[in-house]
Amino acid sequence: MTEPNYLKIPKKYKLGILNWLLSVDHKRIGLMYMFTMFTFFLVAVFIGFLIKLQRLFPEASGWEIIPAEMYGQVFTLHAIIMIFLFIVPGAPAVLGNFFLPLQVGAKDVAFPKINLLSYHLYLFGAIMAIVGVLLGGADTGWTFTPPYSIQTQTISIFGVQFNSISWMLTAAFILGWGTILTGLNFIVTIHRLRAPGMTFFKMPLFTWSLYATSWLQVLATPVVGMTLLMIVIERFMPVGFFDPSKGGDPILFQHLFWIYSHPAVYIMILPAMGLVSEIIPTFSQKTIFGYKGIALATCCIAGVGYLVWAHHMFTTGMSEFAQFAFSLLTFLVGIPTAIKVFNWIATLWRGAIKLDPPMLFALAFIFNFSIGGLTGLFLGSLATDIHLHDTDFVVAHFHYTMFGGGAFGLIGGIFFYFPKMFGKFYSFKWAKISFWTLFVGFHWLYFPMFILGVNGMPRRYHTYPDIPLFNKLQMISTIGSWVLVLGVILIIGTWVYGILKGKVTEEANPWNSSTLEWTTTTPPTLYNFPEVPEVEHEPYDYGAFLGTASEGGSHV
């Protein structure tokens, strides 16, 4: 009799759900994040669907899906859920929690109890945000830019005025502490708990990406936390840190906000890049091209990405030198990013490519992210930014990188690790159908928004004048959103069906992948590895891996 897997360990509490909510096992925490995050994701997708529906109708048509005075609350809610509850915790919270200890050969993260505390903070902050929505939400946009965020009042569903914006800000502060503690935990885990033989340059690339991400989380999040709290203070007390009518400086808020919120986009994208770096060599059965290049590029993106925040503020009237410097630094981020894309494509070259569902998502990531990244250069250059600032172009660019990149990477990663996590297979046929639906719907929805933006359609507007070009493109985009929603539902459906009724597997390494996490049993036991693994070869050494595998020996 072998040790039971982590899903089947004996119950500690009679009430079933407590065995999950109070478990300090990193694998269970990862799954809890997954279920909570994707629940919120579905809610926010639905809200996005409503926003797109509203945009179907020009002002002259007289149709209104969302009343004009509620529109601000609705798009803010979409953004707050998607950003703070879904994509910022994102891949680190789900797959990082689950697979970081497995990838470095540890029993758990460094501080299992703090890991659970992170999840509780996340859950508490999320519930607080939802209650805040019932009390009136926020209509400031997710950026909470003062002085508007100091003055505005929203009406709750009960028809009473409540200080719900302070409530939402506090929720964001609490969620922030959840991410900080996760980042702290991962850094210590990577420094202290690597298995014997696993040097830094033998770590898998997903672990590298988590390492860079964690530093960003620890160094950037406290800044925004305190800044948001100061808005709360301003709403309650008659002080004016950011209110120009009382001597404050609202531009200063924007600096402090973007000092976090720009690195935050790398918090969202780097782990997805890490997942792509895992998937591509596995489904090409080939050593990754330029392993060190990708690892160092990851750190470069994090480092330079920390210093580009003011490119969000080119229209606020900074000094010309500052504009020049921030524009230049923004362009520099393109270099390590391009190195990564180049290396992924070079890995495909002469590989034994197998187009299984995870690989489809990884390839789509490269495609989508290239479009998202290159349009980012339009926004990073000073002259074009003045024209494109605050238009649908920005919205399209952001969704191409965060949804087409971050979320596609995360979904692909879950398809990749699904058998290891649940010991079951999903239906390949439905996974592929859902992939193509999502992929087609995604471009259908967001590509027209680039053209809309270039032609001057502002973002965050409730409606637009009756111009034939706008009408046509908005209609195309809205119909695309229906396809995209169908794709999301199909993906979640494929997962749920797979978890409930999928084909059971105990195969340790179904994809024939060479990294450490695939050597343990499926699903893993409570302590991950029966005995402490010894690492001998580099993570993507498919030569050594395939050679020894054919001899039937252990390869790690």
Partner: protein
Amino acid sequence: MSDTLNPEMTQVPEMEEHRDDVGARLGFWLFLYTEIFLFGVMFILYGVYRNKYLDEFQKAAHDLNKVIGTTNTLILLFSSLTVVLAIVALKKGDKGKTRDLLIVTMMCGLTFLVIKSFEWQAKFHHGIHLQTASGIAEGHGSPLLTPGDEMLPQGEVLFYSLYYIMTGTHALHIVIGFILILWTTIKLERGSIDKDNPVVLENVGLYWHLVDVIWIFLFPLFYLVS
């Protein structure tokens, strides 16, 4: 749990606490970084607004009581010393002395808070609270402001706002530090911290030093540069 047919099942233990002092220290240093960034935001605000309203900042700083500020600085410096001595005593295995020194540290923290509260009260008494700046009090509905109160110019309001919020956040950290030391003392009495396992006390000591260091920066910025 008591599945006698399956002895392995009962062997799945509670998540065992693995002990890694270096890891615990590394984690705590990272946490201290986040605290510094948190305060850093407020220091940036101070720098920007001092630059913008230099005269008013100087005038307001002149009105703060330097004697109280200096006393509090000395008290905190002394308490940092006692924490260090407590750690040294613990490493020598002198449990009683460690406990006494920790109690002295807590007393210093309390004294600091008491003095701080007198200082704040005196400010309130003189009508200096988070007032609205001149000309815009009307309609803001400040609960602290009674009609007829003299209103301060914008720069001084910002100075006092930062003063209250920065020293307030700092005082909150003193309270947290006090609770942490109390918790450590209880752990010490129960024997879960000792000569061979001092990392908790070391980390709490680091936290106390951080609180101290932040005050070392607050003190000159608010009391001395006038």
